[in-house]
Symmetry: C2
Subunit: 463 residues, 2 copies
């Protein structure tokens, strides 16, 4: 595996972005476009710095960034390798355009976070878009979102999440992360917000970029450890239905304790229900938003359930929080896009959403079983509940985690490790393991990938 020719890299020394950010962007673009391919070894930071006539600090910062984002993996003594797998490229919209051919040699992406679009009923999907096309274009969309979208969300929350809500309680959002960023703007600058650790790093970054102080919140196999939350918080971000990434479901007693603390201490709970619809064993527990509607902001999204094409999510919360979010939208002119809301509402209106959800649960339950079986065949176990679209496979330590990621990347499979879901500030003991997403790839690709994953895992002792 030779060091590939690095594509032409143009850095703008007078540019607005630091050189390291620019360099990371160029390399990321090369990996995304296929100029760099999974398994390619990058030159050493020293060699690349010499080639480009820049400082090694810059190349090291760029590699560090790409490592954190999962585009490359490093192995002690043998360099830095591209793990990037080109994301599924959408076919062109117009019927005249040729479908984009699948990049030859592209690998299989088993990182978490991608939905299962394979089971979507394309006739129902087309029907929804056609219905959405009948509505007149908006001159001035409501900042709350379209009324029919709010109605569809209310119906969904009641039927599938057991949450009674009024359409007036619902705000459309551009998705969960966008909603987190909006909520962040309604909290005082510098306020302390606890985020599960390991947890959803993009939530932590969105909060930090808004000027809030993110503090780690301890997590165990059952989710957030409420008793370990520090005092003096303005908000707590958590994923009670299916802790990301560890997979625990927050027990009822902890739910009550969290709501009680929020009331007593005056903090806001942000309940990110990113995949709460996906359970394959027992019924879900009551939402935090049902237990504490006065202190909980509930976030949902169509991105995991259906597809991020719609850019549609929702927020249900106390009126003061909604007013503050709307105030921010009014001041800055930001609005969630109505186009995806229309399609979602039309998809839901004919029962297609409920049908899709049943089909999705069946498919993902089957995939999870296949993953657990493949991993189990080589003596490893999966952690977390029978829920969602990813599992954690615990490993003996950080070195084993890095080795497994690198071996899988060598064989064309992009995997994700627990390390990436910890913040840099967290210096406590960390679990190690794979985070394996099973929804994104086509079923056939998943079945091709699992023996390879098992083979790679077989070289490492189970925990």
């Amino acid at each position: 595996m030779a060091v590939p020719d690095i594509p032409p890299i143009v850095l703008d020394r007078g540019g607005a972005a630091p050189l390291g950010v620019q360099l990371a962007g160029e390399l990321r673009a090369a990996a995304a476009s296929g100029v760099l391919r999974a398994g390619d070894r990058l030159p050493s930071t020293r060699a690349l710095a010499a080639t480009l006539g820049i400082s090694r600090t810059v190349t090291a910062a760029a590699y560090e960034q790409l490592l954190a984002e999962g585009w490359v993996a490093g192995r002690t003594g043998s360099g830095t390798f591209v793990t990037a797998v080109p994301a599924a490229t959408a076919p062109a919209a117009g019927p005249q355009r040729p479908a984009v051919a699948r990049a030859a040699g592209a690998g299989i992406d088993l990182r978490a976070g991608t939905p299962c679009v394979e089971v979507l009923d394309r006739s129902a999907w087309r029907r929804a878009w056609r219905a959405a096309a009948d509505a007149a274009p908006d001159a001035a969309p409501r900042p709350e979102g379209l009324p029919e979208f709010g109605a569809a969300v209310v119906e969904h929350l009641l039927r599938h999440r057991g949450l009674p809500a009024d359409p007036a309680d619902v705000l459309g959002t551009a998705g969960s992360t966008a909603a987190i960023a909006e909520l962040a703007r309604t909290l005082p600058r510098g306020a302390r917000v606890a985020v599960e650790e390991p947890g959803y790093r993009r939530a932590a970054r969105a909060l930090a970029e808004a000027g809030l102080t993110v503090v780690p919140a301890r997590v165990d196999a059952r989710g957030l450890v409420v008793d370990a939350l520090p005092a003096g918080l303005a908000a707590v971000y958590c994923t009670p239905a299916h802790q990301f990434p560890m997979g625990g479901r927050l027990p009822a007693a902890r739910r009550m304790a969290l709501v009680q603390r929020a009331r007593a201490e005056g903090f806001l709970i942000i309940e990110d229900d990113y995949d709460g619809e996906l359970r394959y064993d027992v019924a879900p527990l009551p939402l935090l938003a049902a237990l504490g509607p006065d202190v909980v902001v509930h976030l949902g999204t169509a991105s995991k359930l259906l597809t991020p094409t719609l850019g549609a999510g929702w927020l249900v919360g106390p009126s003061a929080v909604r007013a503050a979010v709307l105030g921010h939208r009014d001041r800055t002119g930001s609005r969630p896009s109505p186009a995806g809301q229309r399609v979602f509402a039309a998809f839901a209106a004919h029962g297609d959403l409920a049908r899709h959800l049943r089909r999705l649960r069946r498919e993902l339950a089957g995939r999870r079983t296949a993953v657990a079986a493949a991993v189990g065949a080589v003596g490893h176990a999966v952690a977390g509940d029978a829920a969602g679209a990813h599992v954690v496979v615990p490993l003996a330590g950080a070195a084993a985690e890095r080795a497994v990621l690198a071996s899988a990347a060598d064989r064309g499979i992009a995997l994700d490790g627990l390390a990436r879901h910890h913040g840099a500030a967290d210096r406590g003991p960390r679990g190690a393991g794979l985070v394996l997403g099973f929804a994104g790839p086509a079923r056939a690709d998943l079945e091709r990938a699992l023996p390879v994953v098992a083979d790679v895992l077989a070289a490492h002792a189970p925990v």
Copy 2:
């Protein structure tokens, strides 16, 4: 005109948002839903404070906010009046849902910023949505935006804005204000950014909310006064094609001078081309992005050209800036919604966008002529070029401006004044006048409103 019953207002004293923000939100919601109607007089700040058992500071802050947003207008000695006109409500998406009836007694909104959806060819619109429905749902949308959207934008920029660009230079955005907020995140906190004054206040607020220091940039009848820009800037936000709101087109010499200063002083130019496609007299001047592709970020949007339903805009700029924006999207997981990009690309693919633009120009040129004639008949003049979707009618002072807005509101017409487009920090001499948007209402409503506007203006001396 009696003081209406104020709807039940629930304020949460322990809530995350200040009481003034909550109160403004409640009143705004009442106005938006029609509980409060255009022309209704609000209780005095003192009376409302007594009714709600809160401090008068809170009620005054809420009224101030609603005044700034244009929901209410104040008249010395006679109180505060609702000017809000319910925004056009979109019909429901599903064919089974009844269309929302137009609120009885709703007025006519002549505030700027709303596009002309009346001339949109609904068959072409439906065709675009049907074509968009054929594409598979995305599993992981590219953070840059869909490739077919980039291609459509490149074609549009070349044909209609004279800007040669490569699809790789284009980033999809959620709209201009969202793009400004993203660009703000790529500049160092506290950096100074000049914003035209009077100018687009939401741009200024989005920059300020991102922690930047907004400084006013002087504007005259020909747009930004480049020589008056202070030193030490990180960026300059401007609207060179059609200065908002004054309506000037930046002369070629100032364009060159601005690009030269940006290069010499290392600042970034944000060129907001919000309605640059709409000129009815001479050809547009070269875009700043064509003169200085190394220092200019060009922003465009489908919201004014077509409809905000799509939530689709674009950004063309230097690779370092694009990389920085993509870095922010990667860190926080934010993405422009692909749904509207698909529809836009499909609408453009069949020539429907070019046809729509021709039809839109014809319609708006006719409307502008009608506005100028109505205003001219009572001795007033319109300022600004024969372009865009709004005009300014200069008035003798701030008192005359407030009086005209209030009289028009009394007669069911929402107008906007220049005062609202100045920042609070700007203590210099201010021009006064109406900002009259003529694209938003139906043509018939515009023709009903113009005699009323003329009648109201006739009571005031022209400038």
